[in-house]
Symmetry: C2
Subunit: 435 residues, 2 copies
């Protein structure tokens, strides 16, 4: 059983099913297809399936031709989950968000498992890549496998291997980012390692699926806490008349023991604001309180209000109220040079601006039209920038430091420029305020 699967992986004949075709699933499918495996993509969105099957990329940083190339070399997307039976390996890459009580929402994972449960069969490998609490693979996935009459480690292989995608990172991509793998049994780990080694440069085996689950949470907790610390230090530095960006830059010259993290208008994206609370939730079961995670969450979530307070104060010094002021938000994606709006702090800032009675516009060439979002609605299109446009606003607020902004032109024409990204660090000018 194990030898058949290992052999079919070794000769790249194993069919790999990718469940969930988004920011994680698509680059993974692309990489696996690249080394010659037949790849079947499974998703619930008919729109997404059609888009991919017609060779179109739904993600800005993945070019259409990459998708077209996949299609030409055997990649296929489908909504028919019975075809999971065709696959020798199934890799789950669906989102794991929080519900509104900040508790894990595993519904995408369980819906996926419900859909493929009838088609699980002996000789398959199942890997979960979605970020989740330590214990998920055991507690949530394993019952599906045993209910199907299968025994992990004997006739089925169950692993957890956290995705580490970093959209827009120019230095690392799917193949070159080491992949942590934990197995339900040693045989599971062995087969999982064989699979991932077939298309990823370095596989890092750990002792259990729970350890692998914890690894991913720790990575994102580390980021959340360090950004939270940078944000708290920003507020202290500002009150002391110091520029935190200058301070972090100088500290970063220490060649050991210090890694720079920069403050900003809050944290965004699908990972950092969310993942840490998976541990918080699970720790409660053990009677433990994850205090760093909660402090970071609290401070980071308060940053949009801090930006507003700095804007209100700067306008006030000009005898203006925020109510009635024309304000332009620069950059609404959650980080530089991506089009991803998930959990973007810019949107929280825009909502507060609206609540305060400001007249809000935005400019972001990555997001030409403000998208439909579950919890946020703006009927806006991206404003094209020119000296006249910039000068027509009472204030412009730099929220996401995309590389295609003309920073000099913005600075030279803004009546008031609130810089949340340290883009103008070291520059002292009457129209620039840090936030």
């Amino acid at each position: 059983m194990i030898q058949n699967l290992v052999d079919s992986i070794a000769n790249h004949r194993a069919k790999i099913g990718i469940l969930g075709l988004g920011y994680v699933g698509i680059p993974l499918a692309q990489r696996i297809n690249e080394v010659g495996f037949p790849v079947l993509g499974l998703d619930v969105s008919a729109e997404r399936i059609e888009q991919l099957n017609s060779g179109q990329s739904p993600i800005k940083h993945i070019p259409h031709q990459a998708i077209a190339a996949m299609r030409n070399s055997g990649f296929e997307a489908t909504g028919d989950f019975s075809r999971a039976a065709e696959c020798d390996a199934l890799i789950i890459c669906v989102p794991t968000p929080l519900n509104k009580f900040r508790e894990p929402d595993l519904s995408f994972v369980t819906a996926t498992m419900d859909s493929i449960a009838p088609y699980l069969r002996a000789g398959q490998l199942l890997s979960l890549e979605s970020t989740t609490w330590p214990g998920t693979t055991d507690e949530v996935l394993l019952p599906y496998v045993t209910d199907a009459g299968l025994t992990p480690g004997r006739d089925f292989f169950l692993v957890y291997s956290p995705e580490r995608e970093d959209p827009g990172n120019p230095n690392f991509h799917t193949r070159t980012i080491p992949k942590v793998v934990g197995g339900h049994t040693q045989a599971c780990l062995d087969v999982g390692s064989v699979l991932y080694s077939a298309f990823i440069d370095r596989v890092v085996p750990v002792s259990s699926t729970r350890a692998a689950e914890m690894v991913k949470l720790l990575e994102n907790i580390h980021r959340s806490v360090n950004i939270g610390l940078a944000n708290e230090m920003k507020i202290v530095a500002e009150r002391m008349g110091l520029d935190i960006f200058e301070v972090v830059d100088a500290a970063a010259t220490k060649p050991f023991g210090f890694t720079p993290f920069y403050p900003g208008p809050g944290i965004g994206g699908h990972c950092i604001p969310i993942d840490p609370f998976y541990l918080t939730w699970k720790a409660r079961e053990y009677g433990l309180h994850t205090r760093f995670i909660e402090l970071a969450g609290e401070i980071n979530a308060a940053m949009p209000d801090y930006v507003i307070s700095r804007l209100v104060s700067a306008l006030n010094a000009r005898q203006k109220s925020l109510a009635g002021a024309k304000v332009l938000a620069l950059g609404i994606a959650y980080k530089r040079d991506v089009d991803d709006m998930r959990e973007s702090p810019s949107v929280f800032v825009m909502e507060r601006l609206r609540e305060w009675g400001a007249l809000v516009d935005y400019s972001d060439s990555n997001v030409p039209v403000f998208p439909r979002m579950r919890e946020h609605q703006f009927d806006l299109k991206s404003v094209s920038l020119s000296p006249e446009v910039i000068a027509s606003y009472d204030a412009v607020v730099l929220l996401t430091d995309h590389s295609d902004f003309d920073y000099e032109m913005i600075r030279d024409n803004a009546r008031l420029l609130i810089d949340t990204r340290g883009k103008y660090r070291g520059q002292v000018a009457e129209n620039i305020s840090r936030a």
Copy 2:
């Protein structure tokens, strides 16, 4: 005035006074002497002066011959502070501890300034290297200078340049660790940069002494918070049956966005447990509360008790109480391969062991005799290790992972081994407990 001083630095004729001959002052004096400057060391300890003048090193990681070499090439130590007048540059390297209310104790700095105040003269540079709150140079040092009738930037030069010594670091030393410098005026910064550039590879100028003061605090706050997070994660991981060292090691394979920090029995040394509270204290003046610093302080300070709780629990499982148990502490210096006991968490663990009624010994070849300490007293000598010695204790607790311990021998002979350093990570054995 400025040109004279710059010239005398350029031709290495300027006499450099180092005030405070300890972990920072000695390596600095050594480096400055190495490039050919005459160096005068000033200290209040007659014992220290005699030791240095007779070519002996008071610090383990600095060899006697290095001190002897300095002596032979013009270094001299003295307790006569009137000789500050001879110096063209004065560099203060005295300790800045906390008092028992966790408030800054600047008494070493002010005592030094009191001693040299009568001898300050036109044409001198004064640099403070001691870690301290943003504003110290302005608030504490500047008045001495102006009271002497001198004007910084015109006939006197005042800078702050934080020390970044890392005793025992094999990769970086005084010359190769970039040096941040902030000046009271631009001319002060210019002269300060000229001085430090004469013996340090890279000087990093910042916009003010306050910015430079904040840089050093941020570096150590970063460490304190990240170690605090690692310690909190250790407790959570332990309860979930995971080994935090395995988890951190695996997370460290992520090639971006993650820097490994490891948990331990607490934090020690003269920097990390102390420096962050300088900012906490100063922030209060601005009505701000530094929550990450205080959380880290609280969690790190609780680690010795955590170690005890793990030991009590492991002994309990063997039907033993800690009272009456023979316990050996392995490693009492605050970190690996140094002899520095300042704020060592091992000492806190040893004190608690004694309070609980254990019979405590220790082994640490770096510290043959338990030193006189202001707040801790043990009449003990380091125990030599052998299989029989190890086996004679009810428990051995690894607190500082010195490289000269025979870890296999210890493991093979210990009845119970509490590992606070992850030295035995991945090893499962009945006699090993993580803490």
